[in-house]
Symmetry: C2
Subunit: 353 residues, 2 copies
């Protein structure tokens, strides 16, 4: 045996100062201990490599004895695969849609990928964050916020798979997975109108949320098509408190003349309901109906039992992961969009025929 590099564990390390955590167990150490070459050790960790049973047993014995674990950094330096994916979420998604991250994690985990998590508070932080993600050589990125078209170019130049989650870029061919917000609102509006509701109010989400824009436009447009024009819109920000403010504003302005309030998400719908009940002593759905959108856990609970559209987050996550992994293995695949239809939860917050 004639090892190159690293003549001996002690010698090569004895006179070197390591910044942290003492010496590591490397494949060289294992090789020495097992009396084989370093490449033999490496091969034992490569699935489908040609290595004899005798060799494998011998190596694996040394591996467990020394507690060796391959160094993912060194590996990915040469394989150009990190098995890391970046996930970028807004503060709101992170806090109010934990199931997104949970499901993404599950799906990625099943494919052997791990999540590097980033949460953006201020929209302008996103750029430096993306450069950070890139430094880690992630295999791909799932983003649940908006992104400048320039950044999308940037991803394309680097051939780095990118998929938008419940978001997209207008007039541009990108990978995207989302719930059909328009169809969902259409279904809600139809149900309300069929049940005889005649006057409506809308509580929208923040201006910079594409989802909110689509939901609000969907509700308003379809109401318009059916002859209900000039529907008042209160601009909220997705928060519980803004749902409360919206309820006060609409209830005060239109007194008892409002039949239904359509909210751009569940959290605001719950805030709206609570306030209509507490502060205006209105019966729901007797006096007024409230509908939301999302299908978050608390909205489905018996105490709320909100009428809403449940987004199929699990399927959506699986789809996002699928699109990413497809591009990781075939970098030149064309962009793809997968749209999912939400399922209406027929709660008790709306009087539906």
């Amino acid at each position: 045996m004639n090892q190159t590099r690293r003549p001996s564990l002690e010698l090569s390390r004895g006179n070197k100062v390591f910044p942290q955590k003492g010496p590591r167990v490397t494949s060289y150490d294992v090789a020495e201990h097992a009396g084989v070459s370093q490449s033999a050790v490496s091969r034992c960790f490569k699935p489908g490599a040609s290595v004899s049973k005798k060799m494998r047993d011998r190596v694996m014995k040394a591996v467990t004895e020394m507690g060796y674990q391959p160094n993912a950094m060194a590996r990915s330096l040469i394989t150009r695969r990190t098995n890391l994916v970046g996930v970028i979420l807004s503060e709101f998604t992170s806090l109010h849609h934990p199931e997104v991250l949970f499901e993404l994690n599950q799906s990625f985990s099943n494919r052997g990928e791990h999540i590097l998590l980033f949460t953006v508070h201020r929209e302008r932080d996103i750029d430096e964050m993306i450069e950070l993600v890139f430094q880690y050589q992630v295999d791909g990125v799932v983003i649940a916020t908006t992104l400048s078209p320039e950044r999308v170019d940037w991803f394309e130049e680097r051939n780095l798979p990118l998929v938008f989650f419940n978001s997209t870029i207008r007039n541009r061919s990108v990978n995207a997975v989302f719930c059909d917000q328009d169809a969902g609102e259409r279904e809600l509006v139809n149900a309300l109108i069929n049940a005889g509701h005649k006057s409506f109010g809308i509580i929208s989400g923040p201006e910079d949320s594409l989802v909110s824009i689509q939901r609000t436009a969907g509700a308003r447009d379809h109401l318009g098509e059916l002859g209900f024009d000039n529907v008042p819109v209160f601009q909220g920000d997705y928060s519980y408190e803004s749902g409360q403010r919206g309820a006060r504003e609409l209830a005060n302005r239109f007194k008892a003349k409002l039949d239904a309030i359509i909210c751009a998400n569940d959290v605001m719908a719950i805030g709206c309901m609570d306030t209509l009940r507490k502060e205006f002593s209105l019966k729901i759905p007797g006096d007024i109906s409230v509908v939301g959108f999302d299908g978050i856990a608390p909205a489905i609970w018996a105490g709320c039992d909100l009428t809403t559209i449940r987004q199929p987050m699990k399927q959506m996550s699986e789809a996002a992961v699928d699109i990413i992994m497809e591009r990781v293995n075939h970098p030149d695949k064309a962009p793809e969009t997968r749209v999912f239809t939400g399922v209406m939860h027929n709660g008790s917050s709306a009087r539906l025929s």
Copy 2:
């Protein structure tokens, strides 16, 4: 100039097949483009390195022109710092305490660390997951589940900073951050008894949750000290549905004789309240009081307004991050435990004097 290795960008790459995503821009490329040495480029990215303004300008110009980003993998291979921390959560924490991850992310982000996320569903998956985390050479690990003492040894042997979040290991000196569950339950019990409640029921969490054990024991013990023995306990699993089952079980067994139900978390408390109201037509807090523990967002909303103990998650997260980073910089620091006291939210789900 006399560059070693990598004689020329095109030559060294032209006849090589790269598995993915085309050639990368490396510090060598930047060096060549700027007409300086590779180490000069490297130095420009090291804070506080001695480099002339002329050099820095020249390098940075080339950097932006070529869109160079340092490779974090290669860097950490040599610095032995990845700026990556592993965060291990249970499914329940992930889904019902999104603020934990959010706050951890914020705090780590401020310290220049990034989160590698792992969620454990089955308790037995945790071992292989930890080995995976280790392969990525994380600087430290925050874990919000239990862990075998052997694994804790394993962390110690490797001198890898580990901190338990709202969890710990019995009879062992480890880094831990948690909310004082016992004190919280004590406060709730005192408040209930002072308000004249005389008969109690408890809905506990899953058996393998240390937090649940502590909360349940805290409530029961303190009730016992005050002369209330043999308090019935229904074993739940933290879920909304188990809160409902607990409500049915306790209400059926003790009819109207129960004054208060103490739940090991908010989600079950909400399930319990909803069911007592809907299925047993009980007024809360008129007929019966319900208290929880956690202070999750939906519990505080007006519709629920649960009386509960709010855990100071932000401070707890900050503390966990602090403990980790302290150990990253000073590996031999002794284990430390930081305990936080929850704040009672005086909601309307309990009649308190």
